[in-house]
């Protein structure tokens, strides 16, 4: 075998080994850090397989389920698949201060873990902004929410 050819083979071989090793490490590492997007029913359907990995649970905040503890530091509520009263629900405990938009009936994504205690423990709460940034529809009164958040404009300085 010519020395050039041998060197070339060696180089290609070394690259292949390094590439495979990198791929192996990357895939292994990725397996540990996958985040699953599930709705409550998806997650419940997984049974015990859902215990452990990081999950992003997406759904609707069940009306009437929001409760703060007395110090206002921890929050519990329920997330349901949809707005139907009999939709699958999951209890969520969240130790993050929720954003202003958070309210009953709004779409949320909570990131956290699920285990046999049947309470989803979350450290991250995201409110689903509607994907489209749109102006108020006809018949939808923008003044309503403005008043709700900012008070009556005439009353201001």
């Amino acid at each position: 075998m010519k020395p050039e050819l041998r060197n070339r083979l060696l180089a290609v071989g070394a690259l292949a080994v390094a590439g495979t090793a990198l791929g192996f490490i990357a895939l292994g590492n990725m397996g540990e850090n996958l985040v699953y997007y599930w709705s409550p029913s998806d997650m419940l359907a997984q049974g015990e397989k859902a215990y452990g990995p990081t999950i992003r649970l997406g759904g609707i905040v069940v009306p009437g389920s929001i409760q703060f503890n007395s110090a206002h530091t921890a929050l519990t509520f329920q997330v349901a698949n949809d707005r139907k009263p009999d939709a699958p629900k999951v209890d969520v405990k969240c130790d993050e201060v929720p954003p202003q938009m958070f309210r009953e009936g709004i779409g949320v994504v909570v990131e956290g873990t699920w285990d046999s205690s049947k309470v989803f423990k979350s450290n991250r709460l995201m409110v689903n902004h509607s994907n489209e940034y749109r102006p108020p529809k006809e018949g939808e009164d923008r003044k309503e929410w403005e008043k709700k958040y900012l008070g009556d404009p005439q009353a201001q300085r």
Partner: protein, 674 residues
């Protein structure tokens, strides 16, 4: 009227691009060099039409001409003028139109700069660039056209009197005015090196003539891409209020990957120009950077990814996939067909040489690109194959990028010391002694001052090591001139820098990168976070810093009303700085949009930022909930932008003419050894 004019200009641009592409490539392949002026004419026509069309759109936006589709969807009478202009790139159709203008600008500049150049590969290169321009002109004319409401032959029944205005997130901060154009300048600019490389490969003449243009025209988009990426991080940090600047979001990754391969290219091209080896590899990097920018555009603009950037869903995805497939097949075919011309003329003898360290550097860059690509595409693949929705978490990317990034930092210190070709181990060892000692002392000092954690301390040590090596490379030639030629410090610096602009500029860029990596390490390892609900007058502790809540406030601006929480930041020495009214962390309520947009307060200081974001408030109880952080050194990520720009400009500045004519390879001066 505006719609008709704008759309006609797009069609004209499309025709010019098709013409230039067809004439350029066919005449180039047939070696009819007389056709060059026709190709150039096509390029000028394309540039004029595209830029003109954009001006018409800006005019329509400013006139609030709601008969134009894009204006009706993204304009508004209540938006301030500056943001009305910016709306041009605030949504899908407009940003693609804007791409057309930038493409026009690049092609115009390139054609003008090389107008006197002999045909040879030039008309093939122009042809390939025109082919890429054709694709974008086609997108603007068809799938993503911004002009007509409904079918273009129908007259709209009802013209709106006002529109929703641009996305509130984009109106929320002035950085949005410059971040997208910078990024687009980076993305679109990669078309030029792609065209140069593809033209030379098509022609089959792979001498040295095209290497200098290839390098310079990669450096230009590289600089804009760097600025765009950093500004994007800064914008996310200053606007989104989650206290971060980088989340390994698919769209961030999309801009990072071509940056990595272009950076790798910039290093391997030195080996190509000097040692005539790594040819195939270097060309592959140039072509690959372009493919990655198109993939990035696809990710940003198709809506297939869950991302903060996926503002609009659209159906241009399939068109893009076809285009990506075409350029991939084209690139691979070119490299296979011309591979035999790209044989190395010298061999790598040892890794302990400049070329050896650059080879390792390239492997590391490609490894990072590969892991980022894998993590970005993996969710798409599993969703397609198994209908499972997953995402790859940030820890994956951090775990992969951290060791590779530190290795890269180490190489930045090692590479400049090693000479080209074989090296004398003893000389090399002597060169390493001082920088390595400074590195160890730095780590030790940081430890003594109470900083803990293996990785950040390692990073600080490496950063000091690289800084010493780089500064020595920057100042040593000047110092020699001062002693030998008795020049003053300034003269010696300027003279030594102008004699090897590229090397000097490269090292300045290295200093900027060291600043960025150090800022990333310090701000993520030593940040302090706290959150809580405060009554008026209460204080939130952030390590030695404190944030006091001074009460709620509201007010009105031209396009929005806001509700803010006045806060005072109290430094460890008791100094108070108030952030009231407009400066308070707040929620903005845009006149034309439904939901409030948060806006954090950032007290920027040289060594740390205090960052307070308003989460919620209760007017009756007069309480507010905050998320607050102290981030050490974080600002240095964006303060590094001018350093990067300065370095790039020094490297780009043309050498004096005679230097070019006699020996273009002189652009790479000899190694560091004095």
């Amino acid at each position: 009227m505006n719609a008709t004019l704008g759309y006609s200009l797009i069609l004209l641009g499309l025709a010019c691009a098709v013409f230039a592409a067809v004439v350029g490539i066919t005449s180039g392949l047939m070696r009819r060099e007389g056709a060059l002026k026709w190709v150039q004419g096509g390029m000028y026509g394309y540039a004029a039409a595209m830029i003109g069309s954009n001006l018409v759109m800006v005019k329509a936006l400013l006139e609030h001409d709601f008969s134009v589709k894009y204006v009706a969807e993204h304009g508004s009478r209540s938006t301030p003028t500056i943001f009305t202009i910016v709306s041009l790139w605030s949504a899908l159709e407009g940003s693609i139109l804007f791409w057309g203008a930038i493409m026009g600008g690049y092609l115009l500049a390139f054609t003008l700069v090389y107008r006197k150049e002999h045909g040879r590969y030039m008309q093939l290169s122009l042809g390939v660039m025109a082919a890429v321009a054709t694709f974008f002109a086609f997108l603007i004319a068809g799938p993503a056209q911004p002009w007509w409401i409904g079918k273009f032959w129908e007259i709209p029944l009802r013209i709106a009197t006002d529109g929703p205005g641009p996305n509130a997130l984009l109106q929320n901060h002035p950085l949005m005015i410059i971040h997208p154009p910078m990024l687009y300048l980076g993305y679109v600019g990669m078309t030029v090196p792609f065209g140069i490389a593809a033209g030379a490969l098509l022609r089959g003449e792979l001498g040295d003539a095209w290497l200098v243009p290839l390098r310079k025209w990669t450096l230009v988009p590289w600089m804009f891409l760097s600025i765009g990426i950093i500004l994007g991080g800064w914008w996310a940090y200053a606007v989104l209020g989650w206290g971060g600047y980088w989340a390994w979001d698919p769209v961030e990754n999309a801009s990072f990957m071509p940056w990595l391969t272009a950076t790798a290219f910039m290093h391997s091209t030195m080996v190509l120009e000097r040692k005539k080896s790594l040819k195939l590899w270097t060309i592959a990097l140039a072509l690959g950077s372009f493919v990655l920018t198109i993939l990035g555009t696809f990710m940003t603009r198709s809506g297939v990814f869950n991302s903060v950037h996926a503002f609009t869903q659209s159906d241009i995805g399939p068109t893009f996939l076809v285009f990506i497939a075409i350029i991939l097949v084209f690139s691979v075919a070119l490299l296979t067909a011309r591979g035999h011309l790209l044989v190395a003329e010298s061999r790598l003898t040892t890794l302990w040489s400049r070329e050896g360290s650059i080879l390792v550097n390239n492997l590391v860059f490609v490894a990072i690109t590969f892991t980022v690509l894998l993590g970005t595409l993996y969710p798409l693949i599993t969703e397609a194959l198994q209908q499972k929705k997953i995402s790859v978490g940030e820890p994956y990317f951090n775990a992969m990028a951290l060791p590779l990034g530190l290795l890269m930092l180490f190489l930045m210190g090692v590479g400049p010391v090693l000479p080209w070709g074989a090296s004398d181990p003893k000389v090399v060892r002597d060169q390493f002694t001082i920088p390595a000692a400074v590195g160890v002392v730095t780590s030790g000092l940081c430890f003594a001052f109470g900083f803990r954690g293996f990785l950040p301390l390692l990073e600080f040590g490496l950063a000091a090591f690289v800084t010493v090596v780089t500064c020595r490379e920057l100042f040593l030639p000047a110092q020699q001139r001062m002693t030998e030629q008795k020049e003053s410090f300034m003269t010696a610096m300027v003279r030594s820098a102008t004699r090897s602009r590229r090397r000097f500029g490269g090292y300045v860029v290295h200093l900027g990168i060291v600043a960025i990596i150090t800022a990333v390490a310090a701000s993520s390892a030593y940040k302090v976070h706290n959150s809580g609900t405060l009554k008026q007058g209460e204080v939130l502790a952030l390590g030695e810093w404190k944030v006091r809540f001074d009460g709620l406030v509201n007010g009105t601006e031209a396009n929005r009303r806001y509700l803010g929480a006045n806060v005072t930041v109290i430094a460890p020495n008791g100094t108070e700085s108030a952030h009231h009214e407009l400066g308070a962390p707040r929620m903005n309520f845009y006149m034309t949009q439904n939901e409030p947009v948060g806006s954090p307060m950032v007290q920027e200081m040289v060594f740390r930022d205090v960052y307070v974001s308003l989460l919620s408030f209760d007017e009756k109880a007069n309480t507010a909930s905050f998320n607050a952080w102290v981030f050490p050194l974080v600002g240095w990520i964006w303060y590094a932008i001018p350093i990067l720009v300065l370095g790039t400009l020094i490297a780009l500045w043309p050498q004096r003419k005679q230097g070019f004519a006699t020996a273009p390879a002189q652009a790479v001066p000899s190694g560091s050894t004095p």
